[in-house]
Amino acid sequence: MAKNIGEIGDYIVGWREVDVVGYYVEEFLNLIKDEHVELWDVLKTDQCHVSFKVHSFATEKLLELAESKQSLREMEVTVGETNGLIEDILKYKLRSGLFVGFVFFAVMLVVMTSFIWKIEILGLTSLTEEVLLKSLENNGIFIGAMTSGHDFQQIKYNIIQEFDSIAYITVNIQGCKAVVEVDESVIPPEVSEKTPCNIYAKTDGQILLIEAYKGAPQVEKYEAVKKGQLLVGGIYNSKVIGYRLVHSDAKILARTRRTYTEFCPYETTELVETGQKDVFYQLKIFGLSINLSFFNKINYVFYESISEETELCLGKNTVLPISIVKTELCEQVERTVTFDEESAKKKISEAFDEKIRIDLHGIEIEEKEELFTVTDEGIYGVLDLTVIEDICEVREIEVEITD
């Protein structure tokens, strides 16, 4: 196996191994060196025996040099067979099956990379993939379509025109895979800033801060408000031009309360992994799945499945329509888990922390109180939170026009 560029070059050019037996091997090596013949892997096995490699084209010159000096004529120079790329090709030329196989492989490779076999969509959240795939199909990008001959600028323009939520789209063909990258536009709020609107409280609470940028505030600091109460009115009385409708805009922070409950029974069942795994392989060619694990059966009652697909690539970007899907089935068993009072409380607290993490991301928690009630079946937990949050809810003012 060639290890570096130099060795690959030697392999392509072709080389021969030369054995020299005689008393003046060093003199012979110097003579070769001075005649600009490159030699490598010079091994001196004993006092009179040296072997080395030279390029195939230099062997004639080598033999001439051995004959050129009287002192060297007594040496025995043996030149081995030529090795290299040409010799390897000639060696296998009579193997017609191999040749046919090679041609078939080359043709298949060209065919396979001429069609789109997979479409990968990245960055899409506002639409379903089916909708975008339908649109791409209308623009000539679908599984089975040719990889070449597409006007990507036109496709990009058509899709941006079709979907308001897509700000930019790129379609790249990587081998036989079309990679569609979507940049979504920021959708403006449903209530336009030109529409007159009021601000209401979206939950009960005590007002701590009012910053009304537009509209007339209807509540004061430290006032208790109920859910749905008007906080900022969009009907504004201007002393200069009288009453007019405005799009209310304000930041109103209020102290509000949140309550969460959890129950943890003393005895419950849960699935735990045993550590046993079964691995299944599937070969996907042109979207067709072939099971490679013929004799494997699923022996587990409960299991978790983890799949990993590895695409076959030529180089970095040319993806072929062949992939190997490795599926690991991790065995699970039902286990009865018992909790004492302390561990049940700990489990409830962990569940509360998870809820806070998800529901109250970015909201300031002012006070936190956990209460536990012990019953025969288990433990009930109640979490009371006092938080400071923005309670503004913008609603459009319905204007009735009468004659």
């Binding site: 110097n30 060196k33 030699l39 010079v42």
Partner: protein, 84 residues
């Protein structure tokens, strides 16, 4: 002008063999025009460079490459000796 030419001539490197060690596993001797192999076995390699003799001692010494410009020695080199 004359002074400048003299200075340039002084900056030229002398054509003597340049020896580079890569750890103790590999030695490259460059600028080998006129350097000849005087002795070669797996424990000693003796090169003649004009009036100087450069001798490498070690174990499993081999000449990996031999070209008119350079000699590359591989093996475990234990010492290097210069003789006049």
């Amino acid at each position: 002008m004359k002074n400048r030419r003299n200075r340039t001539q002084n900056l030229q490197l002398p054509t003597v063999p340049q020896i580079e060690f890569y750890g103790r596993d590999q030695v490259v001797v460059e600028e080998c025009h006129g350097v000849t192999i005087a002795e070669y076995d797996t424990e000693t390699i003796k090169l003649l460079a004009g009036s100087q003799i450069i001798r490498f001692y070690g174990k499993d010494l081999n000449l990996k490459n031999l070209t008119p410009q350079s000699v590359r020695i591989i093996g475990k080199v234990s010492s290097l000796e210069f003789e006049e």
